[in-house]
């Protein structure tokens, strides 16, 4: 036994490293826009903001532009389609916190969406015998109620992992729908008509937020999405965000790094649930009618499909996925009946060719994080570049 060899590079290891490098390259070649996120991260901060502002302005102008080919007309009103797409996008952003960040497969997310819808309906609809409050107040209330139930569901079930958690949440999704059917106060299939809407009338005395006018609803939801995205971005970069990523990657390892895994899983569940409740309340307001038919398991699976399609763990991908899932059946009305078949096929195709989703998480998820780490411990930023590793901050670690 020799003890003279110092802690230098190990020849036996070099070949293994070569294989690993090759694998890493292969992984990166997958995808339709190779290097797109790298290019994005390499842009200066000001340019990024400029592009974002242009994108946001275009998003706000969409109902007015009514772009040909993209538009859902004549089959469906384009403005209302946009309103529905934005609600789905918000749902996907919320679910992405649970599934994407913390890696908890929640198949019953529709339950929180339903709770939000019923909150809005039962506190504003004339069909409801209870206290009536202004519609806008139901938005925070829906968030609070959904969050409360998120914690109630999370505390006993988040000790479960993986498939077990998925099955329990699937059950929870059904429970809420069935309760809506059997509890008389929730009015089953009859439901609630004339759910409230935000105040305000136009010059001719008509309310601005009509069920038949999609644009104001779309603008309201889009604004909320932007606020939620900014909040989610801040969460990603915080201690909580890092803890979620660690939990998703390896829960035991996260725990022995000092991450209170259970607490942060409940947090992910609660935050996700509150966004689900919020989107449910917006949905109820826009459609103006709530009954038990809209909250089935298929809808729940559709939400998960939206997140997976868009890119699990990427909030912008989630917006894209959510909007797409709502858009496709509205745009291609001829195939709307087969939407689940088509989404199923699309998911299979995406999983084969782009397993990370349309906008994979990695780069956007931790690009900011990496900068933060560098700031955190100045020592790390000054490492001289070695042959194999790209070191520009924020450019991502590709092995070229």
């Amino acid at each position: 036994m020799s003890t003279t060899d110092g802690p230098t590079l190990i020849p036996d290891d070099a070949s293994a490293q070569e294989i690993a490098d090759r694998e890493a390259k292969m992984r990166q070649r997958k995808g339709w826009f190779p290097g797109l996120s790298d290019k994005w991260n390499a842009l200066p901060r000001q340019t990024q903001w400029l592009i974002l502002i242009v994108v946001v302005v275009i998003a706000y102008l969409l109902p007015i532009l009514n772009p040909p080919l993209i538009t859902t007309e004549p089959g469906n009103n384009w403005q209302i389609a946009l309103a529905q797409m934005s609600v789905y996008a918000l749902v996907a952003v919320g679910l992405n916190v649970v599934v994407g960040y913390a890696g908890l497969l929640d198949l019953g997310y529709v339950a929180f969406f339903a709770l939000g819808s019923y909150t809005a309906a039962m506190f504003t609809s004339p069909d409801s015998p209870y206290v009536h409050i202004p519609y806008l107040w139901t938005l925070p209330l829906a968030m609070a109620i959904a969050m409360f139930f998120g914690v109630v569901l999370g505390v006993p079930t988040l000790r479960l992992r993986g498939d077990y958690l998925a099955i329990v949440t699937l059950g929870f999704g059904e429970i809420v729908r069935i309760l809506a059917t059997i509890i008389p106060a929730m009015k089953g299939q009859v439901g609630f008509q004339n759910v409230g809407h935000p105040p305000g009338t136009d010059s001719s005395g008509q309310p601005i937020f009509l069920n038949s006018s999609g644009t104001p609803w779309y603008w309201l939801t889009l604004t909320i999405i932007i606020v939620v995205l900014l909040a989610a971005g801040n969460l990603e970069r915080s201690r909580v965000g890092r803890a979620w990523i660690a939990i998703r990657e390896d829960e035991d390892a996260a725990e022995i790094m000092g991450v209170p895994t259970f607490k942060y899983k409940v947090w992910a569940f609660a935050i996700g649930a509150s966004v689900g409740g919020l989107s449910g309340a917006l949905f109820a307001g826009q459609v103006g009618f709530v009954n038990n038919q809209k909250f089935d398991i298929a809808t729940s699976i559709l939400f998960v499909a939206a997140v997976v399609m868009g890119g699990t763990g990427n909030k912008v991908g989630a917006v894209l996925g959510g909007a797409l899932v709502a858009y496709i059946p509205l745009r291609f009305t001829a195939i709307a009946e087969f939407k689940y078949l088509i989404f199923g096929a699309a998911l299979v195709v995406i999983m084969i060719f782009r397993p990370g989703g349309l906008l994979p998480a990695r780069q956007s998820l931790l690009a900011y994080g990496r900068l933060a780490y560098n700031k955190l411990k100045g020592a790390v930023g000054d490492i001289p570049p070695s042959g194999k590793v790209v070191l520009e901050p924020g450019k991502g670690a590709d092995n070229e």
């Binding site: 036994m1 802690p7 190990i10 990523i245 931790l366």
Partner: protein, 237 residues
């Protein structure tokens, strides 16, 4: 001074008993090795000490404090850090992010940079590969990262679960050298190994684990010379 003490610990997986009535202690500044075959309960012992498993009976004391019921993430703050079996690094995080996660529970951020330097001194390779994803590194480098990450919490007690698993012989020697070095810097080490030769040679004291109980105990040298241990674990008759 006794740093860690296990008293009459039993651990069950459901109805199956993995560890029965085990007692041993680790003194401050020691390297203690636990050796044994597959299924002897080595990893179970480690996971019980780090808090990922709850014992069904017995008590664990660390630095004079009863930690039997303490949650794993609090034990890290108290000074127990584990490099898990099969390395358990975060594959989708870079080396840098993995190391940063190692310091997650710490409040003394100013000292983290010093510990980072210490880890880079021990494992220069990690410094070279700072931006590389954990999952794309070779087995040896992942093991370095797992140990380095465990050191980032500045532990009093470092738990190493089979650091030699799946590594080339030359690299195993190097890992053990580094373990000794870490110990010389003042960190107590509890090591679980199948590679009995190295583990016993490096250890101040050692225990042999068989189907959930300790069957032999002594200094590393004594066990190396023990005929029964020799036959069963060192591959010489």
């Amino acid at each position: 001074m006794t740093l860690l003490e296990l008293k009459n610990i039993s651990v069950h997986y459901g109805r199956i008993q993995a560890i029965s009535d085990m007692s041993f202690s680790v003194d401050e500044g020691e390297i203690v090795s636990l050796i044994g075959a597959n299924g002897a309960g080595k990893t179970t012992t480690m996971r019980t000490i780090s808090g990922l498993l709850a014992p069904s009976a017995g008590s664990i004391t660390f630095a004079g404090q009863d930690i039997t019921r303490m949650k794993a993430h609090i034990r890290v703050v108290q000074g127990i850090s584990q490099a898990p079996e099969g390395r358990g690094i975060f594959p989708g995080m870079t080396v840098e992010e993995n190391l940063d996660m190692g310091s997650y529970g710490r409040k003394d951020r100013t000292k983290v940079a010093d510990d980072l330097e210490r880890v880079f001194d021990l494992f220069p390779r990690l410094k070279e590969r700072i931006k590389q994803f954990g999952g794309t590194m070779s087995g040896g480098e992942q093991q370095m990262l797992a140990i380095g990450r465990a050191l980032m919490s500045n532990p009093k007690l470092l738990l190493l679960d089979e650091p030699s698993m799946g590594l080339a012989p030359q690299f195993i020697r190097q890992i053990f050298k580094i373990v000794t070095e870490i110990n010389n810097q003042g960190t107590t080490v509890l090591l679980v190994e199948q590679n009995a030769n190295q583990a016993l040679a490096r250890a101040h004291r050692a225990f042999v684990l068989e189907t959930g109980s300790i069957t032999h105990r002594g200094t590393g040298k004594e066990l190396l010379a023990n005929p029964a241990v020799k036959e069963a674990y060192l591959g010489v008759g």
